[in-house]
Structure formats: structure tokens, C-alpha cells
């Protein structure tokens, strides 16, 4: 399992922010400027391609913070 720091690095690429954004494990997903359906698709692909883990849209909907997303890898 990647560390939370490595995970955040991948997460920033997957969401493809237009402007640089500060993200910590406690960052709430809803507070991110580009947390939308496209970001969710990026995260599903990231889990699949980078970590070989299958997640669905509802898994993401149930997550509040970035750390919650990281826990889906466990």
C-alpha cells in the first residue's frame, strides 16, 4: 500500500486541477474546486491502473476526506 503522501501525489494528477491546490490527508473532497464527475472518473482510473484495485462511484461518494479515499486501498 502506498503512503498517504505518495497517494496524494497520484491523486493530484488524477483529478487534473487547473490551478495548483494544497491537499492534505484531512482535506475534504467537497471543498476542492474541481471535485466533480470528471475527478471521480480520474480517481476510479487511478485506483485501477496504479493500484490494481476496483472501486465504483458509490465508494467515492461515501468518502469525506482524502484520507478516506486512501483507506479504500486497504
Amino acid at each position: 500500500m502506498p503512503t498517504i503522501e505518495q497517494f496524494i501525489e497520484q491523486f493530484l494528477i488524477a483529478v487534473d486541477f487547473q490551478e495548483p491546490v494544497e491537499v492534505t490527508p484531512d482535506t475534504e473532497l467537497r471543498s476542492l474546486p474541481e471535485w466533480d464527475s470528471l475527478a471521480a472518473l480520474g480517481v476510479i482510473v487511478m485506483f485501477d491502473v496504479e493500484y490494481g484495485k476496483t472501486i465504483v462511484g458509490d465508494d467515492i461518494k461515501n468518502c469525506v476526506t482524502v484520507a478516506d479515499l486512501h483507506k479504500l486501498l486497504g
Binding site: 487534473d16 487547473q18 474541481e34 464527475s37 470528471l38 471521480a40 472518473l41 480520474g42 476510479i44 482510473v45 485501477d48 491502473v49 476496483t54 465504483v56 462511484g57 467515492i60
Partner: protein
Amino acid sequence: MGLSTLHNVRFAGMASCVPKRVISNLEDCPPSQRSERERLVRNIGIQTRRICPEWQCFSDLALVAVEKLLADLQWQREEIGALIVVTQSPDYLIPATAIILQDRLGLPHSAIAFDVNLGCSGYPFGLHLLGSMIAAGGVKKGLLLVGDKSATVKDPLFSDAGTATALEFDASAPPMHFDLNSDGSGYKAIMLPAGGHRQPYGIEHAIPTRDEHGNKVHPGDLVLDGPAVLSFSTQRVPPAVERLLDYAQVGKDQIDYFVFHQANRMINETIRKKLGLPPEKVPTTLPDLGNTSGASLPVTMTARLHETLAAGKHKMLLSGFGIGLSWGTAVLDIEGAKFPAMIES
């Protein structure tokens, strides 16, 4: 049915036609959406699309494509035993578009003509259906017309196209292998809920509402569950491709080109990476021709490979997936087939 093989069916040719009007995802949107659109285009990989004028139907594009193909093949109309149309954009709800095209094309009354209601996955299914009729011996020459009119100015994904494929009986033709699947439990992932018999059009479908982001939503519009479609495509397609290659006893290195339905860049790149395929063997028309629904396999073969496929012998893997949910893969050889360049109409 899953895995199967057809014998005695020759792939004789293919032609594709797109409308002339080009829409740019970046430029043809309000300036306030420009930055958001740049991010969207980067991720879906679609810069421009083709859109029909209001009067033009999918069948008008397919008619132009099939006329060109018949001329190149020098086939006589009276030789055609079957005309199958795969579309979700018929001229009318009833009767079937294929029967109208039988008359417009001047095909004999003895030709079998009907429509198949499949979208993005449709091409391998249509190939198998027409191929089965030919393999059974009743039909000597047949035509398969595939495509949709699904582009709108607002939606950044879809693009219009009509295509024609010709198959004929040939006892010396190499086998065609298929893997065809359906999963109706996912029928809500892509659907047009209103207008059928479950939910006939009513006055409520004429009044737009607003979604949680304040965007205008028309109750009669297509509903597409992005995450569900992405998960379905990236989970189902790679193992289906591996399964068919295994069944056909063909290695990935023996396939000259892998042509996938052009869904969007995220889905297509994930599938390509999971299968470990080099980009040069996986042609794409997403940047310039968008998601052309069921037409995307022929459109991509015509736009990117028509000169290559018109010469020599090539082993192809074709994979369609989407609405239904439905996914189908075919492995076939193309040799000496007619492949005119992309037509605009």
C-alpha cells in the same frame, strides 16, 4: 452465446461518411466555460466533432457510404440478399429504417431488411448477425449499415456518422471469431428514459429543470452514469479481449491493429494500458471525430487505416462496448477489401 466462429464469410469492404459541419469543444462554448472545457477536453480527448444539420438523418450518411462502397465493389443491387441496420437513431420510431433503405438503394424485394437496436457495442454484433446468415448459405452478399445521429452542440462527447460494411460468401475465407455478451442489469447506465412505452412523452418532458449545479436539464435527454460506464468498460473489455484471443489461438503480437469503440480518452487509455498494447497498434479518432457511437469502429478503420487495409493482409481485433450494457469482440482477417477514404456529406 459467448465465443463462436464463422466460416465462409469474406470481409469485402467498408465505407464511412460524416457530416460536413465541425463543432469545436473548446471554441463553441460560452467564454465563461472555457477553462473548464480545457480540462474536460484534456481528459476526454475530444477536440472536434461532426454534427448533422437538422434535416439529415443517420440513414442519409449511411446511404452515401453504401452507394460509394457498392460502386467500388461493382456489386449489382439484385445480388444483395440482406441489409441490416444497427442504429439507435432511426428515421422513424416505426417502420424500420432498413426497409426504407431497401427501397432508397433499389435492392430487390427478396432482400431481408431489418433494424437492430444496439449502440456503441453494435458493430461486432452486426458483423456476427449478417455473417451468420451468409455462413448458413442463404445470403450470398449482404450489407451492414451502422451508425447514429447523437451529436448535440452542448454535449462534448458525441459525434455523427454513418457507415457501410459488405460481407459475402466465400468458401476460401479465413474464419472470423467472436465473443458477444450482454448484461441488462446495467440498463440504467446509459438510457433515454422518456418516449417509450414505460414512460411515454408527456407535458412534463417539455419543461427543463435545474440540477444540483444549476445546469439546465431536459427531462427527455439521454441519462449517462459516467462512473458506472467507466467501471463497466475498463473491467469487462480487457478480459473479453484476452478470452477471445485465447479462443482464437492468436497472440497479441499477431494482431496488426486493435480497434476499440471510441468512448473517451480515459476509458480507451485505461483499456489499452491494462492490455499492455502499444499506441501505434491502437488507432484513435477521438481527437477529431469524437464518440461516433456504433460507427466508431468503421469510422476509425476508415479514417486511420483505409489505405493500409486496402493493401495486403491484416489481422484485426475489433471491440465494441456500451449501452445495454453490451460488449462484443471480433477477430478477423481483411485482405483485398475495398476501403474508400472518409466521405463528407
